[in-house]
């Protein structure tokens, strides 16, 4: 009786051990050990440009080009040094902000780094707060940064999630001088696996064979650092590194 009990217990624990070993082996076999060295570097599309026209009942933004996703993030900084953003559709390279537009998310910043974010969802009507039209006007009055960007970071982190060497900081998301968040690729560390531009659906990280503005993107060469953002400056028309 005792022998059969011991045998049964032993077989149960052996079963659990086999499952654990199989899981570990399967995980190790699946995990990539080698980095691809053939392939292409991603092209980072230059920061999108636009001109703002303020009037009492609307704000018009005229863009130089149509975004890939047909939508753009319009952002403005509030007094709490947070970037408040709204996702707006683009029709005929124009975006219109009205007093009925409420922000979609808030990004918390610390210097030129993003430290967190909140999605402001008005699906339950509880979290509406101030309209984005008001926030944008306040930013202009208070000489704080505002503008447009295509990248959805930190709400979207797909390029960083798929990058096999992200722990070495190959893709960075600094906050630029004009307050926009735009990817920065550290070329010397990039393994050219091609995953980042495959997953970018907003068209900021591009396959170089499809990029029109080749070589004009935001790259880090020879340990150059990204510029510190500063407030109260006019939006530059062209912004390249």
């Amino acid at each position: 009786m005792e022998n059969s009990t011991t045998r049964t217990a032993g077989s149960a624990f052996l079963f659990i051990l086999i499952v654990m070993i199989t899981t570990v082996v399967a995980y190790v076999v699946q995990a990539e050990r080698k980095m691809h060295t053939e392939g292409l570097y991603p092209e980072v599309k230059p920061l999108v440009q636009g001109t703002f026209t303020f009037s009492h009942d609307k704000i018009e933004i005229h863009m130089m080009e149509d975004p890939v996703w047909k939508r753009i993030v319009v952002y403005a900084y509030d007094e709490g040094v947070s970037q408040v953003g709204i996702v707006k559709p683009v029709y005929d390279r124009t975006v219109i902000i009205t007093p009925d537009d409420y922000p979609d998310f808030r990004v918390k910043t610390n210097g030129n780094k993003v430290v967190g974010f909140d999605v402001i969802n008005n699906s339950n009507g509880a979290l509406q707060g101030k309209s984005f039209f008001g926030i944008l006007n306040d930013a202009k009055e208070g000489s704080r940064c505002f503008g447009i960007q295509e990248c959805l970071y930190p709400l979207c982190t797909r390029c960083m999630d798929v990058c096999p060497v992200i722990q070495h900081g190959v893709i960075e998301m600094p906050i630029l001088k004009n307050g926009a968040i735009h990817p920065l690729v550290h070329l010397p560390g990039c393994p050219r696996c091609g995953k980042c531009f495959e997953v970018c659906k907003v068209g900021v990280l591009l396959n170089p064979s499809k990029a029109l503005d080749k070589g004009k993107g935001t790259f880090l060469h020879d340990d150059q650092k990204a510029m510190e953002p500063s407030k109260g400056e006019e939006i530059p028309l062209n912004h390249y590194y």
Partner: protein
């Protein structure tokens, strides 16, 4: 009375079997494992309720209406997409048909409240934010990518 009771219990059995069959047919049987915790709801930058996609997969119904509260588009584009799409116009809720009947211009921008899952999938930027808080790591983006292609499941 016994026959009525038997019939009712059969309805329950058919309902449970039907739900499993529907989720298998959609190609996403794992959607039944959803905890219904709705933690994914406040993660979408454009206000889509990702749980709606899971519900659509469970019921194998790409035309299921789901919440999509921050998608903005022109009324004309909305009418092309779905005349029964639910919109927010001047703090009140109405369908596209009603908005057009009230004389609102097709070029004016409106905010969506509810739309079909297959239509919402078209607007999704596939950022993956909805998968991050899921306690059972459901691959919600697989459903969205499937619907994005042709508006149908598993084709």
């Amino acid at each position: 009375m016994r026959k009525i009771n038997l019939f009712c219990y059969l309805v329950i059995a058919v309902f449970l079997a039907g739900s499993v069959a529907a989720s298998l047919t959609s190609g996403y049987p794992w959607s039944i494992a959803c905890y219904n915790c709705i933690l994914c709801k406040h993660t979408c930058p454009i206000g889509i309720d990702p749980y709606g996609f899971v519900k659509a997969a469970i019921s194998n119904e790409p035309d299921l209406y789901i919440e999509a509260s921050s998608i903005r588009l022109r009324l004309g584009e909305a009418a092309e997409l779905d005349p029964r799409l639910s919109l927010k116009v001047d703090e009140s809720e109405m369908t596209v048909q009603t908005a057009l009947a009230k004389g609102i211009s097709p070029d004016s921008e409106v905010t969506v409240l509810r739309m079909r899952a297959k239509d919402a999938a078209k607007f999704c930027p596939l950022c993956g934010n909805c998968e991050k808080p899921c306690p059972v790591a459901l691959p919600i983006m697989k459903i969205i990518e499937d619907l994005k292609d042709d508006g149908k499941f598993n084709d």
